[in-house]
Subunit: 87 residues, 2 copies
């Protein structure tokens, strides 16, 4: 299955499976795959892979198939921050 | 100057320079550089560069030197979404 992944993460809330949301662990939201199942996600732009455990439902945006925790997104190279040089 | 860049973007608000915030244009926030000045930002992880116009103040997080609009971040390869394969 090839599709668009997005990132999400907040601390303290509950996931659809009832777990406390921890943005740093390797988890993700998927609309259909069972809670507790594992999915290996490979980024087409960085070639990196991460295996995540499904513990939430989503994303509810057309064309997107998985919503990665901040930590999992960072493993794939989808970081919210990056080192740069300014000229 | 080598430092950490982050991303931000919302529609409709005002930047510190008084402009309407448009997340798709090549702009950025910096703590000191003058509004209207241009900065070329090169990502160490993707090697890509983007030239942005400073129209906002920030980021106010230790260690971060520039806050890129969503559009500029995407140019650098700091996208919020990416194409993946699931197995």
């Amino acid at each position: 299955e090839t599709c668009i992944a997005s990132r999400y993460g907040y601390s303290g809330g509950r996931t659809a499976s009832g777990e406390r949301m921890n943005p740093n662990v390797m988890t993700a939201a998927h609309r259909a795959r069972p809670f507790g199942s594992h999915v290996t996600v490979t980024s087409h732009s960085t070639g990196r892979s991460v295996t995540v455990r499904i513990n939430d439902r989503g994303p509810f945006v057309k064309g997107r198939c998985i919503d990665l925790s901040t930590g999992a997104a960072r493993e794939l190279g989808m970081a919210g921050t990056t080192t740069v040089s300014l000229r």
